[in-house]
Amino acid sequence: MSAAIGRLSRRQTGVLALALIVTAALRLSAQTLTVKTVADALHVQARGFSFIDGPVLNRLKEGRSVRIDFEMTVLAKPEGPVVRQASQSFTLSFDLWEERFAVSRGGSPPRSISHLRARDAESWCLDNLTMPVTSLGQYGREPFWIRLAYRIQEPAPAGNEAPGERFTLRGLIDRLSRRREEDDLARSIDAGPFRLPN
């Protein structure tokens, strides 16, 4: 009886270990980076790299907007050195009546889009995060690694940016020092090596 239990336990252990391995493998494969070039622009695609969920989604569904700062870094090898960096900010909001997401890209020229599902909004952000291929120099011909990172920021209150704003030292200290809840909402993934098609 005890031997049977022992065999059963080993079998269970094996199944559990297999499940863990498969889960880990699925998680790894679920978050994969690929790159592509369109004209002179290097694009990154990240399958499974979702950010409209959890607290971000809750905040959007409360009608608040969310700013996301993306950074794409090209590395000469894993963990550096940095060859080139590109960053782009996006403002997300959720149309309460249409029940679709809207995304606006900062910078020039500004671009906005609405009526997107969550996954489409995420893809749109990544599509608008680009880097000129020519800026990679020789690394355009050599293998390179990519780091994709984002950080959720709450849009600064408009009053803080208005001319004649009320500047407070206390506020400055708070801004410089406090670890906001949003600090926890930052992620990055690395992948490589990649090589651009000739």
């Binding site: 608040r64 909001s93 149309d95 809207a102 906005s112 030292l169 200290i173 410089l176 670890r179």
Partner: protein, 510 residues
């Protein structure tokens, strides 16, 4: 002709499109009256966007409207298809009645990126149906309530809404304001809720950061940097003192580390732990006074302090605290000898804020603290220190009245950092503490009254600090200054100093 109720599409973006496009064409082509359901459509127009950018199918369906009876539902559906095909735009419709009874349909289309409010939040296309305050709404001034209601009936102005959130936080210190938006009762409208999140029953200690200058004493600086968000249950802060001579008789520089938790399982229980190490220097006047009075414990070159405390709140307004304060001071004259001052600490504090119907905001606070050091805690110095303080502030429109009162008593041999002093940038302004009692005193009585109109302030201070078995002399001072957001520039005049000198003070507390 009955006016049609605003439809979802109309309500949500007509104001936007009129603002962006102007649309004089509508007035030229038709009367400003909505066409009734069933009126025959004689023309369909698209404004702000080329219809040739739409799919052939959609173009055909829009063209097919001409000659058919007006169906608002059908038109809204076409507007939604425009948005679905062209997600960079928002679309609204108008159906206007012509004099001959026929309908003129206009699709109004605008790019989202052309409107900063929409870029910030797509819900800015909708009309605000109502604005509510969730939480401690009774404490919000009528003026601010009125300003909040001005959002109603207009498109959501996110910048203005953010400014109003900030004003709410200013009026309700220590509380967080979150803005939520939800669907309104009518299609295309939204409700805005400013939710006030109450402060826990046990507050963090107020920030002690400052950079101040007193003409007789020079500069003092303290920087308290909270490392965690002030709205969390706990806070860790690092403090630096750079030659601070504004608080105590000693001039101290060093650091303090402080951890506070204001919710330990229950919001009624909190705890704190502060560790500090300061190097001390002394004014010549203080050293001379110590030499003249051997009964006062000696000066020290550095001070190490550990203070674990527990706080219990009876309700949001009344709290008691207890703990110990363990200090070790290395002697200035006989280094490395040191003395300890280990005291039990107990205190009670109460505060309350309220607002009258006339809009006057009031804040009253009072506290009493007892520190008693004895052999039970292996203390070299044996003493008991009582300190009671009360403060009241009234704000009404641009007027502020501040009144404060302090009473202190020390029995036994208290170390110099426990002794009372007056004559700095915040107490008995205009006097110099090193002229009054350079080694501090065992007794304290002090009161202050200040009136501010906008940023201009006048004050009257009176107080005395003295030792047991010595006579008490009440000193008075008055002055004026400018205060703004923690910053101040003040001139104080000692009234019974036997001279006409003035003392200049300035600085910032934050």
């Amino acid at each position: 002709m009955a006016r049609r109720l605003p439809s979802r599409c109309d309500m949500r973006i007509l104001a936007l499109l009129f603002a962006i496009l102007g649309l004089p064409l509508l007035v030229a082509h038709a009367q400003e009256v909505d066409a009734p359901e069933g009126a025959i459509i004689d023309a369909v127009e698209m404004s702000g966007f080329s219809p040739y950018s739409l799919s052939p199918g959609l173009q055909k369906d829009m063209d097919a409207l001409v000659g058919s009876p007006l169906s608002h539902e059908r038109i809204r559906e076409l507007a939604s298809r425009i948005e679905a095909e062209q997600p960079e735009v928002v679309a609204a419709t108008r159906s206007l009645s012509r004099p001959d009874g026929k309908a003129h349909v206009v699709f109004l289309v605008a790019r989202i990126s052309d409107d900063t409010d929409l870029v910030e939040n797509i819900n800015a296309r909708y009309m605000v149906e109502s604005v509510d305050i969730g939480g401690a709404s009774a404490e919000v001034s009528q003026q601010l309530r009125d300003d909040l209601q001005k959002l109603v009936g207009k498109r959501l102005d996110t910048e203005e809404a953010d400014r109003l959130s900030e004003r709410l936080e200013d009026e309700l210190p220590g509380r967080e304001v979150k803005r939520r938006i939800s669907k309104g009762s009518q299609a295309g409208t939204i409700r805005v809720v400013f939710e006030i999140i109450e402060e826990p029953w046990i507050p963090f200690i107020p920030p002690r950061s400052k950079l101040v200058y007193q003409a007789d004493q020079g500069w003092s600086g303290v920087l308290d940097v909270p490392m965690t968000d002030s709205l969390r249950r706990y806070r860790f802060s690092v403090g630096l003192a750079l030659g601070d001579r504004d608080d105590l008789i000693e001039v101290y520089s060093g650091f303090r580390l402080r951890f506070e938790s204001r919710v330990l399982g229950t919001e009624k229980l909190g705890a704190s732990l502060e560790f500090s190490r300061f190097n001390d220097t002394w004014e010549d006047a203080t050293l001379a006074a110590l030499a003249a009075n051997p009964a006062i414990p000696g000066a020290y070159r550095n001070r190490l302090m550990l203070e674990p405390m527990v706080t219990f709140a009876f309700n949001p307004n009344v709290r008691i605290s207890t703990g110990v304060s363990l200090s070790n001071m290395e002697s200035l004259m006989q280094s490395p000898d040191s003395q300890t001052a280990n005291a039990w600490v107990a205190g009670i504090s109460a505060d309350n804020r309220w607002q009258s119907t006339a809009g006057a905001r009031q804040h009253a606070e009072a506290s009493y603290q007892l520190r008693t050091a004895g052999k039970g805690l292996d203390s070299d110095l044996v003493y008991t220190r009582h300190l009671g303080q009360a403060r009241y502030q009234l704000d009404h429109r641009h007027n502020t009245i501040i009144a404060g009162f302090s009473l202190g008593y020390i029995g036994g041999q208290a170390p110099l950092f426990e002794r009372f002093s007056l004559g700095d940038t915040s107490a008995l302004r205009g006097w110099n503490k090193y002229d009054i009692d350079p080694a501090g005193g065992q007794r304290l009585v002090y009161q202050t009254v200040e009136y501010r109109y906008r940023h201009i302030a006048v004050f009257f201070d009176a107080g005395s600090v003295w030792d047991e078995n010595t006579a008490s002399t009440i000193r008075y001072s008055t002055g004026f200054g400018v205060h703004s957001d923690g910053g101040f520039v003040t001139v104080g005049f000692p009234l019974n100093a036997g001279g006409t000198g003035a003392t200049f003070m300035m600085g910032v507390r934050f």
